[in-house]
């Protein structure tokens, strides 16, 4: 990252090689459209290039830092570009295998991911599903209420309580 911050494009290219497939998977999940995901990924890496001098290891591993940039950008685009589309309407993305928490146990950043996995698994089934759908597919409270066929107020309190429980769990 230090060499990228000093303008080393070759290092940046290597970072892209190492991370782009994961980030593309993330933004494609949220945006559910190839054209939007293509645009989003470009913006993510252009932002990362400019933000590289501000990167500090206390902001997490490089991958984690890139994920936060990618997710922010994808959520912005999703809110703006496809207010009502459903992921199920987009075959190319619906075909993707559903994510499972099990995949977290296999990742390189095993310690963070495993702790998060353990804490999420302690949540009740439906609130857990809300949190995961919101994270992976970028669903809002309203979309979750429609998808799970639950009142909006129920969804909101599930999500809020789950998040606060997560924080407590991770802090212990």
């Amino acid at each position: 990252m230090a060499s990228i911050a000093q303008g080393d494009r070759q290092a940046f290219g290597q970072l892209y090689q190492a991370t782009s497939a994961k980030l593309y998977g993330v933004v494609l999940r949220v945006l559910a459209r190839r054209a939007l995901a293509d645009e989003c990924l470009q913006e993510v890496y252009v932002r990362a290039w400019h933000a590289a001098p501000n990167y500090a290891p206390d902001k997490g591993a490089v991958m984690t830092w890139l994920i936060t940039i990618a997710r922010n950008r994808a959520l912005d685009l999703r809110r703006r570009e496809r207010p009502a589309a459903s992921l199920d309407d987009v075959p190319e993305v619906a075909d993707l295998r559903d994510e499972t928490l099990d995949a977290l146990a296999l990742t390189e950043q095993a310690s963070d991911a495993r702790r998060l996995k353990a804490c999420i698994e302690q949540l009740d089934e439906e609130p857990k599903r809300c949190v995961l759908l919101a994270f992976w597919q970028g669903m809002t409270h309203e979309e979750l209420a429609t998808r799970l066929e639950r009142p909006l107020g129920t969804i909101k309190s599930w999500v809020r309580r789950s998040l606060l429980r997560l924080k407590d769990c991770l802090a212990t």
Binding site: S20, V26, G60, L164
Partner: protein
Amino acid sequence: MSDSPATPPEDWEALAAELALGVLSGQELADAEGLEAREPAFRRLVEAWRLRLAPLALAVQPVVPPSVLWSLIEARLPGGRPAEAPGLVQQLTHRLKIWRMATATLALAAVALAVLVAMPGILRPPAPERFVAVLGEGAQSPQFLVTVDLGKQVVSIVPVAQIGSPSGDFELWLVKGEQAPKSLGLISASDGRKLAVGDLAQPALLKGGLLAISLEPKGGSPTGAPTGPVIYTGPLLPAPE
């Protein structure tokens, strides 16, 4: 509600978590984003939540992005080189190297093949890929040279002598044994023409077959079988490579 009451700081933690997760929309989202822009303390909470949740993304199945994206990204960096720059050039150079290696291999293979061919009996003759026929009124007066190239899936018809414009259209037929003649299409009396091989692309069908040209009404035979006089014929012969 633009006059929505400000979120009290004791609720900031939950709001920051919701904003980071991405569940907010509409006015709630606008309010939270406003707070994030105004209040450094709230901004830090949001940032902490983003990092806290980020490992969940590691569970997402990777998808390799289109290869052109990297070139587009490079072009958007400051002092950006054009999109055709290094990435693409490197790819092309790499492909060229592969082609060169392939060509060298092919040259070696050609030498080996030449050796084998020079020793009859080692190689069985492959199924013929090309057939030729010379069509005329008997062998003495060739009018058309027809080549059927199964590799290229094309039938080429070349007129080899001047003939007057016919009153109708010339149609080319494949005749094989007792089977009904199959039309290959209309041909021009004066210009070369290429037709698709279509469903005739079988060496077994062509071998021992006969090509014939009949004079049909404008637009070709109305029945799917020759209706006019057959003017030229010629046998199909496997062509040496």
